[in-house]
Structures are given as C-alpha cells and as structure tokens.
Symmetry: C2
Subunit: 271 residues, 2 copies
DNA sequence: TATAACTGTATCGCCTGTCGATACAAGCTA
DNA sequence: TAGCTTGTATCGACAGGCGATACAGTTATA
C-alpha cells in the first residue's frame, strides 16, 4: 500500500515521545503543545473530544487548554463552525523562526537566483533527524497545493535532499538514521531497503549530489545537494525538482547538478 | 522617522493583551505562548533573562518553560551557542494551519495561475483585524528576503490588500480599524491620515481594487483585491506588486486589475 | 416524534506541579 | 583577581490545573 504524502503521518518524531522521561518535565506547557499537535494527524477540523483523544489528554484539560489557545488566537473555529482548526497566530511564530534563522536568510537570495536560472521548482529543506523540513519553496510552472507549503516534511531516507545530507554524515550516523527510519514506501519506486540506500548514498558521496526518480511523487525527478555549516556538518539541502515528461533523469542531472552545487557552495560556511 | 518593516513591532495585536481579563484564564499555557512571543520583537537570539524580560515572566518560570520548549523542539540554541531562537517544530504547526485552511487551499492554484500570467510578485494575505498576514507568497524576479516570508504581517490601514478588504467592510468597522490603527508611516508616502484613508477606501469601493504607491516600500506599486467568504464578508486579499522602474502606477493598474479581479472572483464563495 | 449520541460549557474540591527565592558554576571583560 | 554575564539546580508554599460530574443545545438513528 502506498503511503499518503498528504497526511501528516510521516510518523517521524512523534511529538509525545521522550517527554515523560524528562526529569524536569513540565506538564502544562507540554500539554498545550500536545493539544496543538493533535492537528498533525488530521485532514479536517477536530471536535473537542477528538482533540482530547488525539493528544492523549483528558477531556477537561483539553477543554481548558483549547479555550485558552482559542482566546490567544492559536486555535480557531472552522468556517462552518463544525470544529476547531489551528489559528493564524501560529504563523507569527513560524515567521519568527524563519526570520531569525541565519541559514535561511543566507540561502534565500541564492535560491531566488537559482530558480531564475533553473526555471524549475527550487526548494530548501532543513535536516531534522529523520526528516527534511521544507523551509523555502519557490514554485515554477504547475505545482500542487502541497508543493507550496512551508513546514511540509519528508523522510530523510528517501528524498534527494536527505540522501545528499546523509552523504555528508559519518557512517555511524547514517546507519542510525537507516535503522530508525520508517520504511513505508511512497510509490513503488521508493527505495527503502538498507543496502540499496547505502549504495545510493555512496553514489551521492562520489557525485556530490543525490538524484531520486519517482521515489516520493510519480513522474518527478529531484536533485539534492547538501548545505554545510562550519565544521562541515550538513544542515540542510537544496532541491531542484522537475517532471519526467520533460527530462530524462540523466539529462536532468547533467543540466542542474552544476547549478545546484554552485548554489550550495555559495551558502556553505565551511572554514 | 521611518518605521522598520523588518522588526516585528507592527504593534498590532499584542499577544499579552486581553489575557489577564479572561475569567477562564489558564496561566501556564498562556505563559508558554508568551515566552515564544518574546521573539516577536527581536532580530537576534535572546538570552534566558532577555526572554524573561521580554515576555514579562519571572526568571524561574522562564527557565522552566524554555527548558521544556527546548526539549520539545520549539526553541533551539543559536548556531554559535550565544542564545535561544525559535525551534523548527514551530513550522509543523504553521504547516497544519496552512494545510487545514480551506481558503488557502482554494486560493493556491488560482494564485499559481495568476503569477504565471502576471510575471510579477503575487501574494495572498489574510485579514486579521488591524493587520494583513501573508499566507501565500509567489516570488517573481528580484525579491528581498522579507518578501518571501510566510507569516509576515503589515497594517491593514496602509496596504493595498488591507484597503481592498476595508472597501468591503461596513463603515462602522472601517472607522473602528482606522481609530485603533497605529499611524506610524513606513515611508514618507505612507497615507495614515484618517480622512485621506477614507478617500482611498471610497476610491477602492468604486474601482473594485486598491492601489498603493510606495506606502510600504520605496519604489513599489501594489494592487490589492479583496477575497470574500460566504455572506460577502472579506477574508483576505490578493496582491500584485511591481517596481516603479518598470511601471507607472496607472499602467500597472490597467494591466493587472482585471487579472487580479478575475482571480479573486475565482476564489470567492459568495452565495 | 422519541431516543440516543453527539457537541461545547460549567462547577467544584483535591492534590499536583509551578513559581519565586536563593545559590552556584562556568564563561567573558576589564 | 574582581565583577559581570551566562545557564543550571534545589526546595517549600500555595496557586491553579485536572478529573469527575453534570447540563444544555444540536445532529443522527430508531
């Protein structure tokens, strides 16, 4: 069965994990965020009791937290009054995140340039353990709704950016990621077999970029190059994505690998 | 003195307002969000004590909340270890907001189309009382970093989108917005005088769109058209923004008003 | 139409988890 | 060295969150 990109169930980094174990665990704060995290696994507005269930919080507690979050603007009622949805004030915080992230600030002009030259979709994603989180998105011609959303995340294991990142990590860490990753495929071309992934990473190490063909979206070819921080650690990746109706994979790589590599190099801060 | 677009101090809807008055006020939850809101007014990483001050929370409380938020990924340490910055997990929540917002979902394909035809920057912003919050951004040629950020907000009073929205509101509400708005100008062309704003709104009512020239950014002309919900209430606006080095204001309006209006109409859900 | 299963809202008392005060170690600047 | 930060840790008192419980309004099923 194919995995649904749309749903939030990448299963990566479950918000509830690792919280109870913290000795300095703070209940109320964590509970508030748990309530907000209830929306990760849904596609439609949630009722109060649905929020309680999804977040593993009692009805009473959920009620109070939701009420507070609503008055603060972090939760809203659905247009049709049918349930609750996340509120617009959440955008203020992600805005702060993007604004204050020096990597993103440095990357943006480079990406704008890259998109102008490439004329294909250009993305910048951040390495966050098992997933890559899209932080900058520059659409080209025809895109889907979900290809425009900042905050969308995809597995490190089977995306061009993730492979590019892994190609810059020491083997121990790569193995750790492979071991802990969810192996459910997106399409029937998704490569999740450990040995095959290792080969792909070796290939990326040699070429300096990673190429994925229809591993996440049917008909799509994507090229990823890692972006490095000081001390050479990969922090994220640049992607260029195109359509197989216009490119063969090798032609795509030949055309865009130099552009993407140059762009990544302009962002890097290795000393 | 000119107002700084970059800083978060649009002064609009202070997060701390109206909280203490709520009878069902929940301390801990609100406090967590207050701590996160501390980053709204800064351009650089914050120390623990700076967070405490900015959020009006005691040092001890701030410490615990920050610690929890950090283990949950909502706050991170700066690259250079000099202070705290918002964490990547915030993007998950804004992603939920964008995903679950049916208006944005409906608007996105229309905006992609519009950008393809217009070949200028196209934005979609949501009406949130005194401010308009950018929810979808489609860059064109040369853009600044801040013109790419989702979550950025600008005053309803002096932006093309805001004026377009106000032109669809009853006079009482318009007056209310004018009265409560911050009048600090962005440039020396920013119109904030109540009477002048009223005239601009009247003009927008007649034309069906609003045009602003250098009111927020020097050298920029922007055209806004309101997007309406059922019952005809304005929910947001489409913007097209161009450079005065390429367009006269009237030529810009003549060219793009029909395109933008058509796009807005395609999104509207008036019954 | 009656019944059942939902919605969100409200109240209240026990007990838990939070906050403030206070102290300390580690890193910078002078 | 002294004097300033920075972040971390401990602990007791008491505010305030949580669970249990109940109710009113709306939608679904018999």
């Amino acid at each position: 069965m194919l995995r649904n990109i749309v749903s939030g169930e990448n299963g990566i980094r479950d918000p509830d994990d690792g919280v109870r174990e913290d000795p300095l665990f703070v209940q109320a704060v964590a509970r508030a965020m748990q309530v907000l995290s209830a929306f990760h696994r849904t596609q439609r507005p949630l009722s109060l009791t649905a929020i309680a269930e999804a977040s593993g919080v009692g009805r009473s507690a959920a009620q109070r937290v939701v009420h507070t979050l609503q008055t603060l603007g972090y939760i809203e009622r659905d247009e049709d009054g049918r349930g609750y949805i996340p509120g617009i004030r959440l955008l203020d915080h992600s805005h702060d995140y993007l604004r204050l992230n020096s990597l993103i600030e440095r990357a943006t002009p480079v990406l704008l340039d890259l998109r102008r030259n490439a004329r294909e979709r250009v993305d910048f994603s951040l390495f966050d353990d098992l997933r890559m989180v899209y932080a900058v998105r520059m659409q080209s011609k025809r895109e889907t709704f979900f290809a425009t959303l900042v905050g969308h995340s995809v597995p490190t294991l089977c995306t061009s950016g993730g492979r590019a990142v892994m190609s810059r990590l020491p083997d121990v860490e790569v193995e750790d990621i492979i071991a802990r990753s969810d192996r459910r495929p997106f399409t029937d071309k998704t490569i999740t077999d450990p040995q095959e992934v290792r080969e792909k990473i070796a290939e990326a190490r040699q070429l300096g970029y990673a190429l994925t063909v229809e591993e996440v979206l049917v008909g799509e070819v994507a090229l990823g190059v890692a972006v490095l921080g000081p001390n050479g650690r990969p922090l994220g990746a640049i992607h260029i994505a195109g359509s197989l109706s216009e490119w063969t994979p090798s032609a795509f790589a030949e055309r865009f690998a130099p552009l993407a590599s140059e762009a990544a190099h302009a962002i890097n801060r290795v000393r």
